[in-house]
């Protein structure tokens, strides 16, 4: 995870959003793609994240925290997106659902299993795992991003990791049958 890029010529301690976008938009889009499982939606959410961040930039007291702030906005937007889809989403029964889909455990299918397993978790657990294991944030940073205590982050990591691995292994077992 790179450090936040600050503007030099602009006002002291203001955020150079162009450089932040150039440096971090792709990784933020990848995070959102993994979180929501839809590239088009992730593209929209990434743009909305920067749009909201820039629109309310005056609320950002510490420019050095801009990256965590971006992830916070992105996580909230993804949760809203997830809530929109929630009522019609199939309650996953992953161990069986894909068992006969393919006898060839290709990489694409493995990626699909990772995505399915991730999205079988609650949004809070999924984002916690991604922020910690993929984006590389520390627990205290995740606590600030999610607006919860470090203890809650610790609990989400423990439970989310357990549920994620269980769901992923159910998918793998289904594949092998």
């Amino acid at each position: 995870m790179g450090e936040i890029v600050l503007g030099v010529a602009a006002m002291p301690m203001s955020v150079d959003w162009a450089r932040v976008y150039e440096t971090h938009a792709t990784e933020l889009a990848a995070y959102l793609t993994k979180l929501v499982g839809d590239r088009d939606a992730a593209a929209d959410l990434t743009q909305d994240t920067f749009f909201q961040a820039m629109r309310s930039a005056e609320q950002l007291r510490d420019p050095a925290a801009a990256l965590a702030w971006l992830y916070r906005i992105a996580t909230n937007l993804a949760a809203s997106y997830g809530r929109r889809r929630r009522i019609v989403a199939l309650v996953p029964f992953l161990g069986e659902r894909l068992s006969a889909r393919s006898a060839d455990p290709s990489e694409r299918l493995e990626d699909e299993h990772v995505g399915l397993a991730l999205r079988s978790l609650t949004a809070a657990h999924a984002s916690t795992l991604l922020l910690f294991y993929d984006a590389g944030f520390r627990r205290e940073e995740i606590a600030r991003i999610q607006g919860v205590s470090e203890e809650t982050v610790k609990s989400r990591l423990a439970r989310g990791r357990k549920e994620f691995i269980a769901a992923y292994r159910r998918l793998e077992r289904g594949l092998a049958r």
Partner: protein, 572 residues
Amino acid sequence: MNERHDHDDTLDDEVRGLLRRPVRAPSLPPFAEIAARASRTRRRGPVLVAAALAGLLLLVIGPRLTSFVPASSTSAPTCEPTGSALDGPYDSGPYLWGQLDSVRIDPRSGQLLWTVRLGVRASAPSPASIQARARVLVEGRDLTVVGYELSEPTSRTLATDERVSVEACRQVALALRTVGQLPEGTFSYSVALDKVLRPGGESTTETFTTALACTPTPFTCAPTRATGTAAPSTSPNAILNTSFGVIYEGRGTGSAPDLTPSIRREGGTTPVARLTGNVLNQFLGAVAPDGRQIAYFAQPQSDAWVLYVLDPTAGSQQVPVTTLRDEHPIGAPVWSSDGQQIAFTIADQSIAQGTAPAYTEIRSVDLAQRTVRTVARRSDHSAYQLVGWDKPTGAIGALVISATGTASEYVLVGPLTRSWTLNGDTRMVASPDGRVALVVCESSRGCALRTTTLTDFGNQLDANLEAGLSLGIIGFRPGTSDLALFVGKASAPTTQTVELWSRQAGRRVVLTTDASSLDSAFFRADGSALVVGTRPGNETVVDLRTGQTARLASGQNDPFARTRPVASVRLD
């Protein structure tokens, strides 16, 4: 920056390895587009003037023609669009494509000429009959359309109601001539075209929309990619019912007219009503039990949420009911069964920042009296989420979402007060008469469907289904106790069915779809049809009496293709 968690290192490494697998990130626009959008939103000055042009072209394939362009005089065979367009080309269904060639000022008359090129693909079953009808709007004001001209393959004025025959692999260019005062400065146009195609007697309606930025001196226009793309929708008239409207969610963030939620007639391609937007332009609303009114939360200003009521049968007037300041709505409101009251849940603003709320309340508003009262309140960092409103007792059922994001309790508030403990994530729907259906899943056996009532929640009836089912609830069929569900089976993992379950008639498969994606599903407001979407822009309307199906929208080029239809409402 990484900090190793102090538990199982092996498990840690496995999870990290899986979650760090690279994904193909989506392509993103250049930063300048986002900066311009943010800048436009921050300062809404006179420089940027919204304008819209809505056009209507009627295309008919069939024998009833009043005018012909002989095949020998049409352009050289071109089955697919060629050359450069100002915007497009866009697919307009299986047989047609269209593009905006140019927008220019006629120096002699000062009138605007909008040139649209339409082509017929090789697969078309018969010549197309094209009739031009257009409506042009700038800032909500009509620009008068004074005439239509054929500019290719021959150049001549088209008579009123004249139809032009175009064979497969041929194309024509039509110019719409408009008059009307245009705003000074840089302004933008939204261009929409509605078309109707009748292959073999079956009609389809098609639309595409684009956005143009134009400058007056010298007059030039260029597409602005910040807003929508094209928008075809296919709609066999025999199945779609234009007495009903479909509510579409909006897109992205902003209050531009093509971004906020809207209502279109079934199969229609232009909005009959635009709703005020909100931060994500979601439809945070619900349709009244009689299907005639909608209640929804929107943000006319960024710092306030307003609960609006709209009766589309009476016009497009949004009536503000109550305003939330420094508070945030949670989910959609719920109507009382008589349509006289609305319940909604709120929390303090901290929920918008992703933190657990300091307090949450269930409130109700009496529409006749315009009085708002607090029905229940909690201050334990949990949040209410409404389930339904029981008709006989007046009690409101709600879930309590704990600070960790899971549903911890089901509570009854109002005249009756009671609570039941839940275990984890629970999905349920309620009918206006207080019936409740919920899905409970176990990894060892699959999902179960249980039915109960809002007030007797602990007494749940298990539907006694076979093992290995995946279930998703769509909702109760209006006016009945029938229930629509998505059903996946372990024995058929690549498909899933949309089913209607009735106590009297048993289970009935309404539609079979690919298991990979499901996006939206809802009943027509009178319960006569189901709308099922597998992705935005790909929704099927199923007539529940005949089983016949029709497409609601027609493909990726529909400007509404990436917006999601979410509910049905009566329009007439």
